[in-house]
Amino acid sequence: MINYNVDENGFYGKFGGAYIPEMLYPNVEELRQNYLKIMAEPDFQEELQALLKDYVGRPTPLYFAKRLSEKYNTNIYLKREDLNHTGAHKINNTVGQVLMAKRLGKKRIIAETGAGQHGVATATVCALMGLECIVYMGEVDIQRQAPNVARMKMLGATVVPATSGSKTLKDATNEAIRDWINNPEDTYYIIGSVVGPHPYPDMVARFQSVISEEIKAQLKEKTGNENPDYVVACVGGGSNAAGAFYHYLDTPEVKLVAVEAAGLGVDSGESAATSVLGREGIIHGSRTLLMQTEDGQVTEPYSISAGLDYPGVGPLHAHLHQSGRAIFESITDDEALQAVLELTRLEGIIPALESAHALAALGRIGAKPDETIVVNLSGRGDKDLTTYLDRFDLHGK
């Protein structure tokens, strides 16, 4: 049987590891040696569970989307991560990591963000814990996700624009890593997805695994069967997908569907569909699938969705792709936008652009009338309203 969990060297199959310069080694090694031990401590778990319940608002509902199900002639459940405090799944991870940072005695928190959801979720837990917070964000993303920039500032975080490369998530991550090199003693880096050097992908996946833990229990209660036929999630770095897949990885009858951003189309040169366009390489300390030139230079990705606009995927997803455990789909900007309007008008839920990519894959799956699909609705669309009003021509109506 193939192992889908991380091995003792930090690899998922041949992907993962910690390809970092020596400057980062002491911090990453400290984390590697301690993360499982700390996560297993009863008082850590107690504090985490209490925050997840009363602060984040977990468990999030598993909602049977009746009208959407009728439209696709199957049974569709939405895992409502959009109802979390701060509006996305990202806070599951930041609550866990901020507690980890505290246990390690760190005083200063840094993070990267794309859509701004991870930045907001980090700024939120830092406000809660009284910790200094610096968030790196690409200049392009600062423009297109302005409401989240305002929220971070309101929460007391410093938002630092990343001005290199495509000025998006990849570049924000570079800047966060440089900050960590410059501040090796007091600083903890809260990575926002299942990317980066080991142990980050595994640690973030564990903090997000609460999603599939709840899906199992909730689906069992609603249908008598804890296993759906499909679990569908969008993949930027892959954290919401990792959380939604986690407890189903070793259950092959549950098909896992990972949905990437095709941007203007996978052949357009303006895309972020890493599983289609990427080759094995190294980005942000991890060996994984990576969009790159023949010479090994990282390609600038593109997606309308800031959270999916990343040229790599986490090593777990590279392994799921290569082993065939997950089905990978890619969805264009236009298809995602259509899915936004569809969910909004059928169910009265405005999804985030990222999550809309997962919804748009419903038409591709071809599920039968007696089958069950769980879509991870990773976030809400408040941050994307300007884009929606523009694209749906709703100004002044």
């Binding site: 020596e22 570079n174 440089r178 090199i181 190294i282 990576l290 010479d295 090994g296």
Partner: protein, 260 residues
């Protein structure tokens, strides 16, 4: 087999000056002229930077020189082509420095063979983990007579410094302070405790201090604590001055070496 880095450290006891530059910057074809001019001005060792799109450990100066070099069309095959006949013109020790991904795409084995053919003496790949190197590449580097140079920092624990030293040959690259490249805040030579601690460890390899060494003062202070020092960003800034390449290099290097 002779290795020019080893010979250099055997012959010159102290005050060694190593200079880093990004291949392909300021212009694509400047690589060989820069090497020859550096040698002419008495530099001891040269680190030829292979530009990468996402240089994690570098500050703004090397980020920008890398971006321009890539835009100019620099690639590993292009660099090897430029360096093909370099040993007809100079015997100065040459080290290739860059990030792992472009080398991995070129093929590590092919890369090492080609480097040997040209007469390269050492390789620095800061994001290649020590454990991967030990497991997969030690023999390959040895067969090709290439020194593998690793970095240590003020935060590296003693035991790991010893481990790194045991797998390094050439020199130990002592990162001066907790910083990406190119900082000029003076911290580069402030950490004398660290330099002394490493100095007293009796390592097999000589040490060279780099990161943030940017003028005559910082260079000479670094030389008090190690066999020599490495200058990168400050040299790249000097190349961007008005005037000819030759003039800029001469002015900069003479300014560093005065009275040392």
């Amino acid at each position: 087999m002779e290795n020019r880095i080893k010979t250099l450290f055997e012959q010159k006891p102290q005050g060694l000056l190593s200079v880093y530059f990004t291949a392909g910057y300021p212009n694509l074809e400047d690589t060989v002229p820069i090497i020859l001019e550096l040698e002419k001005n008495g530099v001891d060792l040269i680190e030829v930077g292979m530009p990468f799109s996402d240089p994690l450990a570098d500050g703004p100066t090397i980020q920008q020189s890398s971006e321009i070099a890539l835009r100019n069309g620099m690639t590993i095959p292009k660099l090897f082509e430029q360096l093909k006949n370099i040993r007809k013109h100079t015997q100065i020790p040459l080290v290739l420095m860059g990030y792992l991904n472009p080398v991995m795409q070129y093929g590590v084995e092919r890369f090492c063979q080609k480097a040997r053919e040209i007469g390269i003496d050492g390789i620095i790949l800061p994001d290649l983990p020590l454990s991967d190197y030990v497991r997969e590449y030690t023999e390959l580097f040895e067969q090709n007579n290439l020194s593998k140079i690793f970095l240590i920092t003020p935060q590296t624990p003693e035991q790991r410094i010893r481990e790194i030293d045991s797998h390094t040959n050439g020199f130990v690259y002592m990162v001066s302070s907790a910083s990406v490249t190119g900082s000029t805040n003076g911290q580069a030579v402030a950490n004398t405790d660290y330099f002394q601690r490493v100095g007293q460890m009796g390592l097999r390899n000589p040490g060279m201090i780099g990161f943030g060494i940017h003028n005559r003062d910082t260079f000479s202070q670094a030389c008090n604590h190690a066999r020599g020092a490495i200058i990168g960003s400050a040299f790249i800034k000097a190349l961007a001055q008005e005037g000819s390449l030759e003039q800029n290099i001469q002015t900069f290097i003479q300014g560093i070496k005065q009275e040392v």
